[in-house]
């Protein structure tokens, strides 16, 4: 038995001190000083929490068709329904679903799709970008040409393609969950290119720096060099892109829904709700569109503002 701490505990130690460092960092200081960042963060946090705890917060379960009463349809917010006498905080939609509950559950799907799509794009883009930038040569050419092909296809088309193929190969009993995964795949796949381009660019710059040359000279594996040396140094732009991409992904999900390849109407996302709601814009049932649209706006705007702040805060020359 020795008293030497195991490598694991060293890492934990380091991680803990990193949190402390983070709190005292310029970034955190700038965050605490920026009212926009604070408010945006609070809004995002509130929305994420209410989405996560939707089953506890929402008064109804809008995804259980057996509990719906069609006669409750089109009840205005706060008013009693003419047939059933029931009252709903934000009214009901065409199916008699409580708009408030539907928004909470829809937010859950939208956030899940958004985070998962960005995670996919990030992992894919950063990996390919690192490899392309570090290895170079033929590998780089192939990866960057694939990126070109990818850019050629608008996200909408990618989604339709994946949607069609997935529909052909998934067994019927998984069909209703399929839409969500297709959305994630489609948005993730159409987003990775910008990560890859930025990371490749940054990698090219870092690669020629002395510390990387040194690491290479002492015989560290390319994998280790990419992961331990280059990656941390390209993370700031990646973080900014990821934040902006999250907002974009949530909006993209809504757009795809408009084109009929979004979440199914029986388990709607925010985008599907807006797509359904826009059909009632002229007819006076404004609440079916208004509340989901406001929620989406609040979410996307806050995330965008956070991204903005992050970009400025991470760019020391602008301070």
């Amino acid at each position: 038995m020795t008293d030497t701490p195991s490598p694991n505990s060293v890492q934990t130690e380091r991680a803990r001190s990193r949190i402390a460092i983070a709190w005292d960092s310029d970034l955190a200081y700038s965050f605490r000083r920026s009212p926009v960042a604070l408010i945006s963060f609070a809004v995002v946090l509130l929305l994420v929490l209410s989405a996560v705890f939707a089953p506890l917060v929402a008064p109804y379960d809008p995804f259980d068709p057996g509990t719906l009463n069609l006669m409750n349809g089109f009840t205005p917010p706060g008013e009693a329904n003419a047939f059933t006498g029931e009252t709903f905080l934000l009214g009901t939609d065409d199916q008699g679903r409580d708009v408030f509950s539907t928004i909470l559950f829809g937010l859950r799907i939208s956030l899940f799709v958004g985070f998962a799509a960005v995670a996919l794009a990030l992992i894919l883009g950063v990996t390919l970008g690192l490899v392309a930038g570090y290895v170079g040569g033929m590998t780089e050419t192939v990866i960057m040409r694939i990126a070109d092909v990818q850019l050629t296809f608008p996200a909408i088309l990618v989604a339709m393609l994946i949607f069609g193929i997935a529909k052909g190969i998934t067994p019927p009993e998984y069909r209703d969950q399929m839409a969500i995964w297709v959305l994630i795949l489609a948005i993730g796949l159409s987003d990775w290119v910008q990560f890859a381009r930025v990371v490749r660019g940054a990698t090219l710059v870092e690669k020629s720096k002395e510390y990387v040359q040194a690491a290479r000279l002492i015989g560290r594996s390319p994998f280790a060099i990419m992961l331990r040396h280059i990656l941390p140094n390209v993370l700031s732009p990646v973080l900014v892109i990821a934040t902006i991409s999250l907002a974009l992904a949530i909006i993209a999900e809504a757009t795809l829904s408009f084109l009929g390849v979004g979440a199914p109407p029986t388990e709607p996302s925010l985008g599907t709700l807006i797509r359904i709601g826009q059909g009632f814009l002229f007819s006076g049932e404004w609440w079916i569109l208004f509340f989901p649209a406001c929620t989406l706006l609040a979410l996307a705007l806050s995330v965008n503002l956070l991204g903005d702040w992050l970009r400025d805060a991470l760019n020391p020359r602008l301070r």
Binding site: V149, L161, L259, Q278, L296, L297, L301, N304
Partner: protein, 320 residues
């Protein structure tokens, strides 16, 4: 240099072939054109016969090969829905999309640059911050919703602007333009704003950050120290240096404006290639879909190629 260009052109052609293959694979899943082409009272024989006429019963790779062979000869096939040559239909629809793209690009560029400069100069001012925040509202709602809201306010409630179409167009040879009539110009306003809003925000932010960057440079400090007036500094020196990246980005965005015109054109019934594509999907008009995708690909790959070659021309180190 020549070998580099040849290599890049070769790669671009390869990219186009792959795009074509992927696009073609996709059509198998969009649906079956047969049902939309035949009436309610069709017999099973009609279905089989039409399938044969269209070559749909051939193996997939044979269909793809046939398509490529004809496409190389400039024959994009016959539209299933209209029975006309696809090239003719696209040529008819392209002016509408290009004019819309040009106007919304100009809108994005002008407003983006002006507001970008403003927000950079008045970096911490209230108005600048308000513009920065408000511009984000525009990109925090899906395009189709912005379009519908604009129609609702400006066409239905206020009756100021038309809700659909291009207005009266004038034919100049093979080109139909909406620039020469009043109704044509008015019809451009709402769709251009809808389409250009996102790019405008993008350009505004780019100009702002480039300006801020440039304003910190030493030569600007020298200029200031020499007692040059702010206006001269901002416009004669700073702006000039921000324009190169802005123009590059705008050029690259032009292709995506055309691709994303799909949604704007659907909402405003704008008779361009995007609307044509959406109609083609609904009708499973495979030749039109294939031609549209190839067109967009050629455009993107072409722009990419030009940008790459320009970079090489500027920076000889990349000629590896």
């Amino acid at each position: 240099m020549l070998s580099y260009i040849l290599r890049r052109v070769f790669q671009s052609v390869l990219v186009l072939l792959v795009v074509g293959l992927v696009a073609f694979a996709m059509f198998r899943f969009v649906g079956d054109p047969i049902d939309t082409m035949l009436g309610q009272e069709r017999t099973m024989q009609d279905i089989e016969r039409l399938r044969e006429t269209l070559g749909l019963n051939k193996p997939f790779f044979v269909q793809y090969w046939d398509f490529l062979v004809r496409a190389v000869q400039g024959d994009l096939g016959i539209s299933y829905r209209q029975g006309r040559p696809v090239a003719e239909i696209i040529a008819e629809r392209l002016p509408a999309t290009l004019e819309l793209a040009a106007v919304s690009g100009a809108f994005a560029l002008i407003f983006g640059i002006v507001m970008g400069i403003f927000t950079a100069i008045r970096r911490d001012g209230f108005a600048a911050n308000a513009i920065m925040t408000l511009s984000l509202v525009g990109v925090s709602l899906p395009t189709f919703l912005i379009g519908i809201l604009l129609i609702y306010v400006f066409a239905v409630e206020l009756s100021w602007l038309p809700s659909f179409g291009r207005g009266d167009v004038v034919r100049l040879g093979g080109w139909s333009t909406g620039f020469l009539t009043q109704s044509g110009l008015v019809a451009l306003i709402l769709p251009s704003i809808t389409l250009g809003l996102y790019q405008m925000t993008l350009i505004m932010r780019l100009v702002r950050s480039e300006m801020l960057e440039v304003l910190r440079q030493d030569y600007i400090r020298f200029a200031r120290a020499r007692g040059l007036r702010d206006r001269a500094i901002h416009f004669r020196h700073a702006l000039k240096n921000t324009l190169v990246p802005v123009i590059t980005v705008t050029g690259l965005q032009l292709g995506s404006i055309i691709a994303f015109a799909i949604i704007t054109e659907t909402v405003f019934q704008w008779p361009g290639v995007g609307l044509l594509f959406i109609n083609a999907i609904q009708f499973v008009d495979i030749p039109v879909m294939a031609a549209y995708l190839m067109l967009i690909s050629v455009m993107f790959v072409g722009i990419n190629l030009v940008v790459d070659l320009l970079y090489v021309a500027i920076d000889p180190r990349l000629r590896a």
